[in-house]
């Protein structure tokens, strides 16, 4: 028996999420004596995965499959699972993997759990913790089927190096490529050069306290100094100050970076539900009573228009030393 991870990449480069899946798989495999296997399409440096405990990489070389299609990719993961005898399959919570998840679960006839934040409690009974009620609760969920599919919540487990001697094989699955005609991708728009919310370790976010879109210069500058992505509260997106793709919260994107800096955001329950998975939260708000301070690790009570420019200058000095 083995554990199979679906390893995503960006232009061939292993995604951080794949290393996180590998870390999770390896930690569990060490308890059960299983082997960790990865499957991916056109991975350039599979050896990076050996560092995280993957002993075999099934690398698919196929121009068509390089473009994600949920049905084709579910097919190839299923075949990889069959070939390797994997009864536990792990996927990330990228948009692609979330799309593929239920299709894959059906093919594997697997019990499927999403938003998983812990390893199984023990090896006898397969129970994992998952986030429910938009981060307001945790459910201990038992999977009752032989085959199991887990969608691991980003940044919940962490990266652990555990080098093994790995090998990479060319994997040639039999996939019905007609799905690329059924679902014909006619256009892709991707912001280039900007760090996306899903990849970011640090996120700088602004709320209605910033008064208007013309004041986002300092938010972007702070983000740039920190190598961070930018986000915003719901009303900011609704007012058209920022694009909808930046809206975080219960009804926007759920994020869990290492550091979340909230500027001029009150900390409404719906906002917190989408961001309170962040490892560290800094709140900058001129109202000491703002509810966000109750959910933060670090806080500055002050006017954003004074605090943020100073913070930028000080961070520049810090980075230069």
């Amino acid at each position: 028996m083995s554990i199979l991870i679906y390893a995503e990449n960006q232009n061939g480069k292993i995604a951080k999420s794949a290393k996180e899946l590998a870390s999770y798989a390896k930690a569990y495999a060490d308890k059960t004596g299983q082997e960790v296997i990865a499957v991916g399409v056109e991975i350039n440096q599979p050896e990076e995965l050996y560092q995280y405990g993957v002993s075999k990489v099934l690398n698919v070389k196929n121009e068509t499959l390089k473009t994600f299609n949920a049905f084709a990719h579910a097919d190839l993961v299923t075949q990889a699972a069959l070939q390797t005898g994997a009864d536990l399959v792990l996927i990330s919570d990228s948009n692609d993997a979330v799309y593929m998840g239920p299709i894959l679960a059906a093919q594997l006839e697997a019990g499927y759990v999403s938003h998983v934040i812990s390893l199984p409690e023990d090896t006898e009974q397969f129970t994992v913790k998952r986030k429910v009620f938009s981060n307001k609760g945790i459910a201990y969920t038992e999977i009752l089927t032989d085959n199991k599919l887990l969608r691991i919540a980003k940044n919940s487990f962490g990266l652990y190096e555990s080098p093994v001697n790995g090998s990479t094989e060319n994997f040639v699955p039999e996939v019905d490529l007609s799905v690329y005609e059924t679902y014909k991708v006619v256009n892709v728009e991707k912001a280039t050069g900007k760090i996306s919310l899903t990849d970011a370790d640090i996120i700088v976010s602004g709320g209605r306290g910033l008064k208007g879109p013309e004041n986002w210069g300092m938010v972007e500058e702070l983000a740039e100094v920190l190598g961070a992505a930018t986000a915003c509260s719901k009303p900011v997106a609704d007012l058209g100050w920022r694009p909808h793709t930046e809206h975080v919260g219960q009804t926007g994107k759920q994020i869990a970076p290492n550091l979340y800096i909230a500027i001029g955001i009150s900390g409404a329950i719906q906002h917190l539900a989408g961001v309170n998975g962040s490892k560290n939260i800094v709140v900058i708000n001129n109202d000491p009573e703002a509810p966000f301070f109750k959910a933060a690790d670090y806080g500055v009570v002050g006017d954003a228009f004074e605090v943020v420019p100073q913070l930028i200058e000080k961070l520049k000095t810090f980075k230069n030393n």
Partner: protein
Amino acid sequence: MKILFLMSSVPDTTSKINFTDNNTRFDETGIQYVINPHDEFGLTKAMQIKEKHGGEIVVLNVGVAKTEPVIRKVLAIGADKAVRIDADPKDSYFTAVQIADYIKKNNDFDLIIAGKESLDYNGGMVHGLVAAMTGIKFINAVIGLELKDGKTVEVAREIDGGKEIIETSLPLIIGGQKGLVKEEELRIPNMRGIMMARKKPLEVLPAVESPVKTKIDKFEKPAAKGSIKLVDKDNLDELIDLLHNDAKVI
């Protein structure tokens, strides 16, 4: 155009979440239920399609009798008829089996609109499982949908860091979300709608046999944050020091 709207009824987003019976059950005391926010965008989209192309909207919910006020709300907004499959939707697989069974018996829907995820148990899978069980085409995280001539549709799907436009054909299941229609286009019930909803049919069907694949043993609340470290606005070096040495994030 026949549209099936899959509606999940969830606690109002302002709800404080608590657990009861030794943390084995969600505490429903004082909880108000609403249409799942991700589903709402799809409902308005369904209305817009119906207004342009004609047709019928059926709302389907797998739930116990207490979801009926929320189903009535969907009827008040504009769905034509409702179906409730009488069961406690404990596990996503079980729920999907119920929906797939209904679709197989009523297989004349052109478009099946769901949300990308219910904001209660956050599975993000019921609609995708239904697609797999029925063989109907499926696109998730949909932020735009345009009917072209005949059966062709152009669908915008959110991808990490952008979007992808896919051309496909009906019948189709989508998992909708914000962006599918504009926030200001979202419909709310008016008086006339509420009056009319009382007369619209709400059929209650028994559930079909199905196993479950997962089971919740217990709940807990996330660990509360430790106490906050406040930094004086005139001493931001301390903040940088904390982020560097204490949190180790910069």
